[in-house]
Amino acid sequence: MAVTYDTDVEVGGTNVTSLTVSITVANNPDRYLIVGVAAWDDVSAESAISSVTFNGSGTGWSQIITEVGPGALLDRSSLWGKANPDAVTASVVVTVGGTCSELGVSVLSAYNVNQTTSLGTAVSAEALSSAPSVVVTAATGDLVYDAVYAGGVLPTATVGAGQTVRANITIHAQNNSRLLASTEPGDPTVTSSWTLADTSLEWVQTAVALKAALDLALVRAAVGQLTASGGIVGTIYR
């Protein structure tokens, strides 16, 4: 079963200690919530994420990957995830360590995600350039999600080929900082990239593949064939 997009929301703020955004998670099988955070503060601890909650609970959330840079700069991109979220309309709340100068949050709901091994190997990159790009190892049926903090001069952004924009919002108008997020269907290798307008830019990017759930119909068919040929005898329960 291919990982399938359900819905997404995003919000940005300046000089905040937390951001809240409401999302409706539909009642689909094998649900997963992924949160992409883009942040900057001149004190790293103040942009560090202290908690992520959904529907009032922090249970089940895990930090997937965080990148801070480029170099000595303190731009931050971070991914957080939770398997099997409640199928409700509720708030995702991202709380940081202090008053964070720039904070953007993208939340994406997907389904048909493997509930045991939900994620592939997360990757990250950072640079002073106009071309955020990471290569993600994935497979057919997976869904690759990436999140970028981009700042600098006029960072309007264009998403790479094959990707669907999930967030492209201003975090801080004067500083021209943006939260970018996209998804792309899985393949053995997927390149998640953006093109930022102008030069004198800085960015940090994180990405990961949401792994597809097993197709139980295919598994049952394969086991049925094996059983018919005398290979194995047994019953599959879900």
């Binding site: 929301v9 995003e10 919000v11 940005g12 703020g13 300046t14 000089n15 905040v16 200690t17 937390s18 951001l19 809240t20 955004v21 409401s22 900057w40 001149d42 309309t89 708030s91 709380t95 008053t99 100068s101 720039e102 700042g151 919002i169 201003t170 975090i171 801080h172 108008a173 004067q174 500083n175 900082s177």
Partner: protein, 125 residues
């Protein structure tokens, strides 16, 4: 762009307060909520980092009969700095809302610590 609320003075005692509802023009989908902060030029605004506010943004799509939460933020007062080192004059919340007629925006605000003095601006694009 439309300025729906322009530097409206706010004085909020400790506790909860609702602001609005404000009519949001149908054609505009990107909204900014801005609260004025303490700077050396505006010393009366929100000087204490122990004064906090939780803002919940609610939108109505039926002319104000029912509202649902869109997003929100929590913020502490005191001096904050921008990326270029200058004093931050505002806290902002930036979000989008689906285009639909009969929209109304309402803010629920809860202040803790001490009375909050600021200015509120709401813009839509």
């Amino acid at each position: 762009m439309a300025v729906l609320v322009n530097h409206s003075p706010l004085t909020i005692a400790v506790g909860a307060m609702a602001f609005g509802p404000v009519v949001v023009p149908n054609s505009l989908t990107t909204l900014d909520i801005r609260l004025a902060r303490f700077t050396t030029a505006t010393p009366l605004f929100w000087p204490l980092d122990t004064t906090t506010i939780a803002v919940s943004v609610e939108m109505s799509y039926d002319g104000g009969q029912t509202f649902r939460l869109l997003c929100g933020m929590t913020v502490a007062g005191g001096l904050a700095t921008e990326k270029d080192g200058s004093e931050a004059a505002e806290t902002t919340l930036h979000f989008t809302a689906q285009r639909q007629p009969n929209r109304r925006l309402r803010l629920d605000m809860e202040v803790k610590g001490s009375v909050l003095v600021s200015e509120l601006t709401i813009e839509a694009r």
